[in-house]
């Protein structure tokens, strides 16, 4: 695979007369942690959904893991992981059962699943809760497990849609350690968030305003260019005219 994980060009999505995503263009390098920021309704969820094959683009193109999302959705889906802001593990199953289910969906063999499940549970320090129904686990655990399950098939790219909403600061830190860990092993991470401190953790961020990318680059560069103290300040500055 080339070192470009995601290549988006003039990506557009209209709903009737409303243009939710308006000629968006960006690239994400392999192994990069790319933050996708924007106010509610700015179009980031729509763009996100197009990249993971849940929504057809109206115009432009997007290649994810080397495949066109519009024409080769199946190939794309095989190579990506996804974790939604709504929690995506089955609550009445145990972590181990969830791993087995998703492993099976992504075509892993039973031996592979067992091996990866053990390694994953050990890395998370979750061996004791491996056979407890997910429902009775604290939210922090569930989020970490959901993230790990999204990585069970070792995808090239993992898409995280507000993965830390509603999670306490300590768990959020732990969660970001998991993200860095995945990135260090070559997984590209695309993450949306409303927490501006998390934006600072990203290698690069883009801020969407009214369907367009208003700013894009490493957080430090953006702050310098726009002469602001924090991403939070930058975000408010960019988003305000549209609000």
């Amino acid at each position: 695979m080339s070192d470009i994980a995601i290549e988006v060009k003039d990506l557009t999505r209209k709903f009737g007369n409303f243009t939710a995503v308006d000629h968006v263009t960006f690239q994400v390098k392999a192994g990069e942690v790319f933050g996708f920021l924007g106010a509610n309704g700015a179009g980031k969820t729509t763009a996100f959904r197009m990249l993971i094959g849940l929504l057809q683009p109206t115009g432009g193109s997007a290649r994810v893991a080397g495949f066109d999302v519009a024409k080769q959705a199946e190939e794309v889906k095989r190579r990506i992981g996804y974790m939604s802001q709504r929690f995506s593990l089955y609550e009445d199953l145990t972590p181990r059962e969830n791993i087995r289910l998703y492993g099976g969906i992504y075509g892993l063999t039973l031996a592979q699943i067992r091996e990866r499940a053990d390694a994953m549970l050990q890395r998370l320090g979750a061996s004791q809760i491996a056979d407890t129904a997910v429902r009775s686990l604290p939210l922090g655990w569930r989020q970490k497990l959901a993230f790990s399950v999204a990585l069970v098939h070792q995808p090239h790219i993992v898409f995280l849609d507000e993965p830390t909403s509603g999670v306490d600061p300590i768990t959020r830190r732990q969660f970001w350690e998991l993200i860095y860990d995945a990135a260090s092993r070559g997984t590209t991470v695309l993450v949306t968030t409303h927490y501006m401190d998390e934006a600072e953790y990203c290698d690069r961020i883009s801020i969407m305003v009214a369907g367009r990318i208003a700013a894009m680059g490493p957080p430090a560069d953006l702050k310098r260019e726009h002469n602001v103290e924090s991403i939070d300040e930058l975000f408010v500055q960019l988003a305000r005219p549209a609000a």
Binding site: I52, I80, R86
Partner: protein, 369 residues
């Protein structure tokens, strides 16, 4: 006071803005009252009567006209021999038959007792009993209207009655096929709709949609367990009916199971269609109750005889799969008939299953747009 007013106002907005729930809330009682009010009528109307008249004469014709003029009966066939009745009863063309004795006219003229046989389909026991009473009343009236003659006793026509299909007129025989439809509808339609919307609510459906699973795989994976449960419950109901209630299965059991499976497919497809229109378990449940369970119970002839319903409800009942499945199940279990009589009902259910499954798979695809 103003706090309360604010609360009331807010609640009103909830109701007003959730159009679907509002519609259900308003329509549910309206529809129910209509259905119960009309359907619960047990008097009988439009009875399909067959006549066996081996030696037609003015006398037999006069009695036949009496039946035709009674307002309740509709003569659907007139055949020369009793054997010809069999297929008419089997395929439901006739519900009741009057069979004139070959010597009916002569006997009546001579003043000797004239024989008349009334055969009634009592698959539905209440209806059967009513039909019998009606027919006897018509004959009684005819007799009274005969010109008085000293040579003739007052009661000269001897109606003999016979009950078909459900000779002991036991309603449990009737109930079990209907109950089968009911159980299958609940399990297939309701469980499918609820389990699909639950996945939407918890966000797991999204995880499945993002995975390389194809839509049909997701559907099959969701639906097969309920198909299996539905099938098992058919077996269970059959065994229970046999052991506990001693309800007969006179026809082919494999055929019955096959028809059950078709009906389960229809119900599953209903459940899927409903769940594709909503992402809330509660709305899905209401939707299933309103569009699937209620019509299938009220308009299938399961509890209320279709014959006594107003024409409009009878017309609606034609599109309801439960009606056809109940007819099929009763036919196989009580009448012992096979596909040669039930192919139309079967074809309808199979056709409906195909259309609905296609529609639900399509609406599943559309969600990705």
């Amino acid at each position: 006071m103003s706090a309360l007013r604010g609360l009331l106002r807010k609640e009103w907005f909830h109701i007003k803005r959730d159009r679907r729930t509002a519609t259900v809330l308003v329509m549910l009682p309206v529809v129910q009252v209509l259905l119960f009010g009309y359907a619960i009528r047990t008097d009988v109307d439009n009875v399909r009567l067959a006549v066996v008249d081996p030696a037609p004469s003015n006398t037999t014709l006069a009695l036949r006209n009496r039946f035709a003029a009674a307002g309740v009966f509709r003569i659907v066939a007139s055949v020369p021999r009793t054997e010809d009745l069999e297929p008419l009863f089997q395929n439901g063309t006739a519900q009741q038959a009057i069979v004139f004795d070959h010597d009916f006219t002569e006997d009546l003229g001579r003043g000797t007792p004239a024989q008349l046989l009334i055969i009634t389909d009592a698959t539905e026991p209440n209806t059967g009993a009513l039909l019998q009473a009606y027919a006897q009343a018509v004959i009684q009236q005819y007799q009274l209207a005969l010109p008085a003659s000293p040579a003739r006793p007052a009661s000269i026509i001897v109606p003999v009655t016979r009950i078909r299909f459900n000779p002991t007129r036991e309603s449990k025989n009737l109930f079990v096929p209907g109950l089968m439809a009911f159980v299958l509808t609940i399990i297939s339609a309701l469980m499918t709709a609820i389990s699909l919307t639950r996945e939407k609510e918890t966000g797991t459906m999204e995880a499945l949609l993002v995975s390389p699973l194809r839509p049909w795989e997701i559907i099959v994976g969701k639906v097969t367990p309920y198909l299996a449960i539905g099938f098992a419950s058919v077996l269970l109901v059959l065994v229970e009916a046999r052991l506990v209630f001693n309800v007969p299965v006179r026809g082919s059991i494999p055929l019955l199971l096959f028809e059950g499976l078709l009906y389960v497919l229809v119900s599953l497809a209903f459940g899927m269609l409903i769940s594709s229109r909503t992402s809330s378990q509660r709305i899905a449940m209401m939707g299933v109750f309103l569009t699937t369970l209620l019509p299938n119970i009220l308009l299938s002839g399961f509890i209320f005889p279709l014959e006594s319903m107003p024409a409009i409800l009878r017309w609606i009942s034609y599109v309801i799969p439960g009606r056809w499945f109940v007819a099929i199940a009763r036919g196989i279990m009580l009448k012992g008939i096979g596909l040669e009589y039930l192919w139309r009902e079967t074809l309808y259910i199979a056709g409906l299953a195909t259309v609905l499954l296609a529609a639900s798979i399509r609406s599943f695809h559309e969600r990705l747009e």
